[in-house]
């Protein structure tokens, strides 16, 4: 057990400068897919609520498909399904992108979290009190300005508790990356287990790392909620 920890503590935490792994890789996957997914979902959620019917329908179809299928299946489709197409292999730029497992996982996670966050934000936008909208309209807000200044700031605040849940789910989902050879915490644990055949120690370390990450995220989001949700009456 001591040998395992001695040999694997560095890969578990950050790996080496030119081959990051473990905790650092998991954090990287989580942060990138959350940031990109959020950036994409913002316009999508507005389109889902206020766009023309055709666009609304398209966004709905997108979230329906990506929320209705397991992330693991999506990951496999992107990682092996698309990559095995000769069309993709014969196009240099696209081939280079899909060849790297890290790109594929980032793409899959981003799309997946984007679909969930779009629905979540759309719900928050729809829950905007009518009075707020009427007040804003009556003093001359309209179109994009209305959304940028009134609707989104209040909807984003209201969505914060649900969004913190989604970020933690994404963090947990990143453990799937190990199935397509990306060296995250779980992949290191599997390697360590294969070396020493001490599954409880190897996966236990991984579980502790994930649990502490989760706790840290929860604390951060609680701080954020205290800061930005002060104006709302305390619920729960």
């Amino acid at each position: 057990m001591i040998d395992l920890i001695k040999q694997y503590w560095q890969p578990f935490l950050w790996g080496s400068p030119n081959h990051i792994s473990g905790l650092a890789m998991t954090l990287w996957l989580t942060v990138v897919s959350c940031v990109l997914g959020f950036a994409l979902s913002l316009p999508l959620s507005v389109a889902r609520v206020a766009g023309p019917p055709l666009i609304r329908w398209l966004v709905r179809a997108f979230t329906f498909v990506f929320r209705g299928t397991p992330l693991y299946v999506q990951l496999l489709i992107i990682y092996s399904g698309i990559y095995r197409l000769e069309l993709v292999r014969n196009t240099a730029g696209i081939n280079a992108f899909f060849k790297d497992a890290l790109n594929c996982t980032l793409l899959a996670f981003t799309i997946n979290t984007c679909a969930y966050v779009t629905e979540l934000l759309a719900g928050a936008i729809k829950a905007t009190p009518r009075g707020e909208l009427e007040a804003a309209r009556s003093i001359g807000f309209a179109g994009l300005n209305l959304y940028r200044r009134i609707v989104l700031p209040s909807a984003l605040r209201r969505a914060l508790p649900a969004y913190s849940n989604e970020v933690i789910l994404t963090l947990h989902a990143t453990s799937l990356a190990s199935a397509v050879t990306v060296p995250d915490i779980l992949k290191v644990a599997r390697d360590a287990d294969a070396d020493y055949y001490l599954p409880f120690v190897a996966f236990g370390i991984a579980a502790i790392l994930y649990a502490s990450l989760t706790m840290i995220f929860i604390t951060l989001f609680r701080k954020a909620e205290q800061k930005w949700l002060q104006h709302l009456p305390a619920s729960t």
Partner: protein, 201 residues
């Protein structure tokens, strides 16, 4: 499997219950699955070796079901706990005042009312479990992804489209299942909300 998780969610002795739900819910399900599956097998092997018995292989189906049950039992516990607390205390006190026994109170008073609050959460959990079953192929259970991978190995289409085809078929299958269960839960929610005003949607 739903029944298994429900059974494991029934013991809530406060402190062990809290530790169980907090720990299980803060670790990814895949990590727990590998942790439990491999370590339990390992311990069984050590035990049988110590007793000088032949090794016992844990049946992967049984292992998959019980591990999923163990993990999602934690999520169900939290859902049900919230639902139980949402039932007004007066209802239970009134039932006790009428002389109903604990089991009668549970089945006739608490359960029908708490299901109304629990159903949205249960349906959410159900959807998550449905999608989590995709993971058991990683511990070697022959479910749909496993079957698709076998089909992929056995065929070779020009243009390499067979991989995409079989995997998309799996995705469609899951999509059908989630849609179907959505309808089912919508029906159940309506049934248990009988007598309550519907919220405007």
């Amino acid at each position: 499997m739903g029944a298994a998780s429900r059974l494991s969610s029934h013991r809530w002795l406060t402190i062990p219950g809290t530790i169980y739900t907090t720990l299980v819910r803060s670790v990814p399900d895949l990590v727990l699955m590998l942790l439990l599956y491999y370590s339990v097998q390992n311990w069984v092997n050590l035990l049988t070796d110590a007793l000088g018995q032949p090794q016992i292989e844990i049946d992967p189906f049984l292992a998959g079901v019980s591990v999923l049950g163990f993990i999602y039992g934690a999520y169900f516990t939290e859902t049900l706990r919230g639902a139980v607390r949402a039932v007004p205390r007066g209802q239970l006190e009134a039932a006790a005042a009428f002389g109903l026994g604990p089991w009668q109170i549970f089945w006739r008073i608490l359960f029908p009312q708490m299901m109304r609050f629990a159903l949205p959460g249960i349906s959410n959990n159900w959807q998550v479990i449905l999608k989590a079953t995709a993971l058991v192929s990683i511990i070697g259970l022959p479910e749909v992804i496993y079957a698709a991978q076998a089909a992929i190995k056995g065929s070779n289409w020009p243009g390499g489209a067979h991989v995409l085809f079989y995997l998309s078929a799996v995705a469609l299958l899951y999509l059908g299942l989630t849609t179907l269960s959505n309808f089912l839960f919508a029906y159940l929610e309506k049934r248990f909300a009988a007598g309550f005003e519907q919220l405007a949607r």
